[in-house]
Amino acid sequence: MHGSARVDLNDLGSLIGWLFAQWWVWVIVGVVVLFFLVIWIMPAAKVKPSEAYSTDDREANEIALGFLQIVNQPSGPWNDPTASALSAGEKKRLVEMWGVATREEWLAGIERLVTVRRRRDVWVTCLAIRAELAGRLGRVPKSKEWTAAIIEAGGDKRDARSFVAAIEGVETQVRKLVGKDIVTPDVYVRTLDGYALGQAVALATWGVALGHADVPEARAIIHRINEEGRPAFSSWADFGLSYITGRVMHWSDGVIGEKTFDKFGDGWSEFKAASTAKRNGPWASLPWRVG
């Protein structure tokens, strides 16, 4: 009689007992366990800089502001101002996507990102209210306190609630995924400008790849972006949180659903890599305050 014929399919205990007696079941279980063990033990990939450019001076510090966008594209090592990894097809797509076929359009694109910064007045005002309230309270305001302050300033109750929930929701997700040791509880979103500023730095390097400028000019533009943008932030974590939240809010128009963060917040893994010393992350070694 065949072995499986002794199994009573109506009896779960009999079925489990039979499965335990099979050698191939143990092989499958072993392979699965081994797979997860290898993934768990294997160290996360390190951030690789370009050996042709510095990683610890002022220039490296300034280009590091565009880390998330440069790595997310990806257009090459984070410290490479020439975006050397862009293929011909990728360059063509960038030109179409950003409308930067000419040098003038490229410069105008950077100018728009640095000055207009994808801002929406309602969001800017609500975040400014939060920062003002935090300054008064000496801590991060709670949802109710922030919402009440927005309503008091003349904001609509329903819109205020959904905006507060959206920002706090993204913050929670980023803190959970990147780590509370990096995005500490006292770090909160005060501006969404990080996204536009990070893009501006990346766009400056892409301009070199597209032949609109040489490296010294791109460096000068990146220097200006840092001078104008950096004072609004207090740390790399503050900037990174602003970048991810800004990206999610911009592409979702502030309507955060179940899948919104998965769709637009994927930069969290680069944020984590950039901020981890073991992974050679530049944000972990470079100081936030430049010179």
Partner: protein, 329 residues
Amino acid sequence: MRTLLAYERAARIPLHRRFFAVLAGVLLLTAAIVAGLWWLGSNGVLARVPLLAVFGTFYGVLGAFGFVWYAVALSRRARLAMFAWANGWAYADLLQGTRRPGSAFTRMRRSIERGVIASEDARIPFELGVAHSVGGRDETATVQRPFAFIELPLPAKVPHIVLRNRRRSIVPTLGLGGARMDLEGHFASTFQLLVPEGYQRDALYIFTPDLMARVLDLGAGAELELVEDRAYVYLPGSTRFDRPDVMQTTVQLAEELHRRFAARTGPYRDESTGPIERPEGVAIGLGGQRLGGQGVSLLAVAGVSAAVILSAGITAFALFGGAILRSGG
């Protein structure tokens, strides 16, 4: 037909997507259906299953109507494109994700714009087109009828103001917050202003009687919105921008409204708010930036009401119908 062919050449539409390629495909499909029906008829299958003939004819007629619809819309957009290019304006047949700040645009989950013309002429800077609400792979479309729009830039940011049409709703304004201001004189029968609380005086400063008179010239089928540094004129979705007379009126209107709005909004400053409600770099106080809430479509309200009434009727009939029928019989 000549305009259509010239448009396809100028727009460099690939051969397989051109009108005659689509026409050839439709004719081939029609021929295949007719041949199939003839073959089924000669084998006696149609006599046994006549429903096949009904299906074949139904889908044939549906396809013919669809093709005529596509051809008419394409020829109109081709005329519009040629007109735009002749005047040095930019033309886009289809735009997605334009992120216009108008409330009619922001309430739609996903929208597409067809036949969009953009003029960068400093005297008449405008964009116009027809917006449609569409669904996505994992989301349904927002209930919203298509509407035509003219977008005009303003020299300064202004409070959010909507000029609602009482006689004919183009875009949903039901559910928008703020104060309702009834206008004076004969404008009151056609229009009503929706203004953020505390900005009523600012609205009257911008919407002067002569400007209102010009808006009234548009006829009863228009609505207006000022938001951030943009003005929107909303017109019915059926507006034929491809017609020379309509386009001429539209361009004249765009030029005049741009001039009048520039004169009224250029010197405008929101002086009613402090630094908390209006931080650095923001021109309008929080209360004036947006009317609260989102517009609710009358179509959606009518649909939901009809469904509720219908289900209530069915329930009532299920409960008491038998007794009523018995007492009647």
